[in-house]
């Protein structure tokens, strides 16, 4: 996560979505100042703080802790050791399920968690990259969920309905997924450009429509698996599947390479290309951009199409790589995770990539934790949201840990001096 903070500090463009057009630069400057003052130390401490608070929840719900709490004042040591064991077991399981399973008998089993983490992270990263472009261009796109679904529908249909040679089949399915997501998001961009329709409403509505659309499609003969009553498609043909890059022992597929390539592409697009410069100019101040001769409305459409295409690729990773079949749950909650990931990564490509890996690790590890210690995976949502909140508010973290000479008031003043 340290790279994340330093990467965001390196690029000076104001991040963060702008719901309304910013009329004064102070908001962007505030965010920028917060970013610059957020060192790797704050990032680490934010994660620690999030884990501590979630640990309290884990301990509170543990039955042993609850029973020892009844005689807390008679023997506090029992209570403390029970709480420690509950929290430590959960977090050890979280680590073993997401990075390295130290208890596994074979090497393959030991490193499988890491490959699971990367597999889960692929759709989150891809969708998060798309959302990040929108945030930097001043569009708050909540529609990644629907765009992932449409990408999965297009990619999945090409994947199971056609017989094509290997390679070409995969390529067409992936392109189809990107087009599906891009078109779906393009609706919101087009409507904003032509009629000024608020993209927040339109993308929320498109999410809901996409969920019912896939539910409907999977009951039609074109999509439903023959002979099945369940809403599930035929399996994707082998020629259209992402190759498994570490062999058949691991689920990790070439979608991860797509995610890496997309991260580099988005970096180039936003930081090196003229198109990206226009996007950022519109995001920073759309009126100034219009005065400078940039077609703001065309930008709205292209931002959404590119963001949607990336979310569509996330859908392709799910349907052609991880799930290998089109189902109603193909997008899980990746579209909403991606919002948090893009915000945590400050909408920057590298930051989003690393934040996506972190979220992938928490999700993959959360399943292992639930299976081994019975701690519900829902606690992962608590950890994720607390991390984002604390990283977004460095002065809070500094005051909790009494950073710089003890008093919280003085430490905030130090922050301002550093930024000035």
């Amino acid at each position: 996560m340290s790279d994340n903070a330093s990467a965001s500090a390196a690029a000076p463009a104001p991040a963060g979505p702008t719901g309304a057009e910013p009329s004064e630069p102070s908001r962007g400057e505030t965010i920028l100042r917060e970013m610059l003052s957020s060192s790797w130390l704050v990032t680490t401490l934010a994660i620690v703080l999030a884990l501590v608070i979630s640990g309290v929840l884990i301990a509170a719900a543990d039955p042993t802790v609850q029973s020892t709490a009844t005689y807390l004042f008679a023997r506090p040591s029992d209570f403390l050791s029970a709480a420690w064991h509950a929290v430590a077991n959960a977090y050890v399981a979280l680590f073993q399920g997401s990075i390295l399973d130290t208890s596994a008998p074979t090497f393959v089993r030991a490193i499988r968690p890491l490959t699971e983490t990367t597999t889960v992270a692929v759709p989150i990263i891809l969708a998060g990259l798309g959302l990040g472009i929108g945030f930097r261009a001043g569009m708050f796109n909540i529609g990644a969920q629907g765009q992932i679904i449409l990408g999965a529908v297009f990619g999945g249909y090409i994947g199971f309905a056609f017989d094509l040679p290997a390679g070409l089949h995969l390529l067409l399915a992936v392109i189809g997924a990107a087009i599906g997501g891009g078109l779906w998001a393009g609706i919101a961009g087009f409507l904003k450009a032509r009629t000024g329709a608020n993209e927040v409403i339109v993308t929320i509505m498109l999410n809901n429509i996409a969920i019912y659309l896939i539910g409907y499609l999977l009951t039609t003969s074109a999509f439903q698996r023959p002979g099945s009553n369940n809403p599930i498609s035929p399996p994707i043909k082998a020629t259209a599947l992402y190759p498994q890059i570490l062999g058949s022992q691991f689920r990790l597929h070439a979608g991860f390479l797509v995610a890496i390539a997309a991260t580099v592409f988005v970096w180039w697009l936003m930081d090196r290309s003229t198109i990206g410069f226009r996007f950022r100019a519109v995001g920073a101040n759309s009126k100034a951009a219009r005065t400078a001769g940039i077609s703001v409305n065309t930008n709205y459409i292209w931002v959404m199409v590119i963001a949607g295409a990336l979310a569509g690729l996330a859908g392709s990773a799910q349907v052609l790589g991880t799930e290998k079949v089109l189902s109603i749950d193909v997008a899980a909650s990746f579209g909403f995770d991606a919002i948090t990931v893009a915000l945590l990564g400050r909408s920057k490509p590298l930051g989003t990539f690393l934040a996506g890996l972190l979220f992938g690790a928490l999700r993959a590890g959360g399943f292992a934790m639930q299976a081994r210690t019975g701690t519900p995976i829902d606690i992962v949502l608590v950890v994720q949201s607390l991390i984002v909140l604390f990283i977004a508010a460095p002065p809070l973290v500094r005051s909790v840990f009494r950073l710089s000479s003890g008093s919280s008031r003085r430490s905030t003043r130090t922050v301002k001096e550093v930024a000035a």
Binding site: G16, P17, T18, G19, A20, P22, S23, E24, S26, R27, T30, I31, E34, L57, A61, F140, I142, I187, L191, R194, T195, G196, A197, N198, V200, I201, V202, I204, M205, L206, N208, I209, Y212, L213, G215, Y216, T219, F336, I339, T340, L343, P376, D378, I379, V380, L381, V382, V383, Q384, S385, L386, V388, L389, A392, A393, P395, L396
Partner: protein, 434 residues
């Protein structure tokens, strides 16, 4: 709609003003939307074959002062007549738009009513079960309740300059606490009182991060929604699921019939045979509509949301106003959350608000940041939710998924075609630094 505006009253003093306004381009959006939808429905419901030749509607519920007999109409003729009325609305809209006259809200309302009636006439044609109009409307109002409270919360916050995306979290927290307190006390009203407290707690976090630490308000809102889902789902899985009888079996709010008023046919059962939460909703909507635009409190609030520096200059405490309004908004949304558990008579479930907070946000924008607009938009969503349920029981030729997606598609049409560029409070989302 945005460009078709009558000259302001005060413009008469400036002789050049009335001349410049007619030069603005005419927006043909509304007549085009009416025309296209009217034609589509005319073909679909009027000309294509329906499931039967007659459609029956019932209006009476048995408690009315006098019973209205069920109405049986020939399906095809009724649908043709109704869609022709819709096309007539399009023509009226065309004429008024061309002559640059402003039309009241009755035109879109009439259009919506005849289109929905045409759809129903077509969908229920030939079914043995008649369509219970009264039940359909009463259920719609009930289902709209959390959306109304949610969008009122949103506009309380946004008029004072704070974007409240955390409505979803406030609804969910309210539902959770209402269920827990309602179960522990075995009193639904205790749950109803507890629900706003949960909403305020979420609002306090929103305040802490967005006002004290000036974190981007949209980020905080989105993340708080995730946090509330996480905490409530975690507590549900660890504590409530296995001990449902001690933690999670809230009693249901009783239906209170208002004497006399509830006996009026159609209106009575719809409006006055509901529970106390719905009656509270009437009160809150009316009070807010008046207070927001007619009181000193509302004027101050709006000035803080539009131009905080000017408000500060005349001595209004900007951040204090924002804190109070955000807390009030949290309480209102939390109260709406009680709908899901104690008002609906259901146990708490993971993520049981199911995105209603985001729909409430859409209703707020669709209603252009006014309480009466918000309730109209929320009723639209509530109606289509309930329509799907009712038609599911009667059985219709339309797949349920298509029915379910209709309100969202209608919203997109409305936002793109009729509402267009809405204007949010100017300073929302921008922290005020003195």
């Amino acid at each position: 709609m945005s460009t078709v505006t009558a000259p302001p009253q005060g413009a008469a003093t400036d002789p050049s003003a009335p001349r410049t306004i007619p030069l603005a381009p005419i927006s043909w959006r509304a007549p085009i939307v009416y025309g296209v939808l009217g034609l589509l429905t005319f073909v679909a419901f009027g000309l294509l074959p329906a499931g039967g030749t007659f459609t029956t509607f019932t209006f009476s519920t048995g408690t009315d002062l006098f019973a209205i007999a069920p109405v049986r109409v020939p399906s095809k003729t009724a649908a043709v007549v109704l869609t022709l009325i819709a096309l007539a609305v399009a023509v009226v809209s065309f004429v008024t738009t061309r002559s640059r006259r402003r039309i009241g809200p009755w035109l879109p309302a009439l259009f919506g009513v005849v289109e929905v009636a045409a759809l129903l006439t077509w969908a229920v044609a030939g079914k043995t079960n008649p369509l219970p109009v009264t039940g359909l409307l009463a259920g719609s109002l009930f289902l709209a309740t959390p959306l109304v409270f949610g969008s009122l919360s949103g506009l309380l916050c946004e008029h004072s300059g704070i974007i409240n995306i955390a409505i979803e979290g406030q609804l969910l927290a309210g539902a959770f606490l209402a269920a827990v307190v309602g179960t522990l006390t075995q009193n639904a009203y205790a749950g109803l009182i507890a629900a706003p407290i949960a909403g305020v707690l979420v609002a306090l976090l929103l305040i802490l991060f967005s006002i004290r630490y000036r974190v981007d308000q949209i980020i905080v809102g989105v993340v708080l929604n995730v946090l509330v889902v996480g905490v409530t789902s975690y507590l549900f899985s660890t504590v409530m699921k296995d001990n449902a009888s001690t933690w999670n079996s809230p009693p249901r709010l009783a239906t209170l019939s208002i004497p006399l008023l509830s006996k009026i046919p159609i209106l009575g059962p719809v409006l006055f045979q509901q529970n106390v939460l719905v009656y509270l909703m009437y009160v809150v909507v009316v009070v807010l509509q008046i207070m927001l635009f007619r009181s000193r409190w509302g004027l101050r609030m709006r000035s803080v949301g539009e131009h905080p520096l000017a408000a500060d200059t005349v001595g209004i405490k900007v951040n204090r106003t924002r804190v109070r309004n955000t807390m009030l908004g949290g309480a209102v949304a939390g109260l709406g959350g009680a709908f899901f558990t104690v008002a609906a008579g259901l146990a708490f479930g993971k993520e049981m608000t199911g995105g209603k907070g985001y729909i409430a946000l859409a209703a707020m924008i669709l209603g252009r940041w006014s309480p009466k607009g918000a309730i109209a938009a929320a009723l639209l969503f509530g109606f289509s939710d309930n329509l799907q349920v009712v038609l599911g029981i009667i059985g219709t030729p339309i797949p349920s998924q298509i029915m379910l997606m209709t309100p969202y598609a209608v919203t997109i049409f409305a936002v793109a075609g009729l509402v267009g560029r809405v204007r949010a409070p100017a300073s929302e989302g921008i922290p005020y630094v003195k």
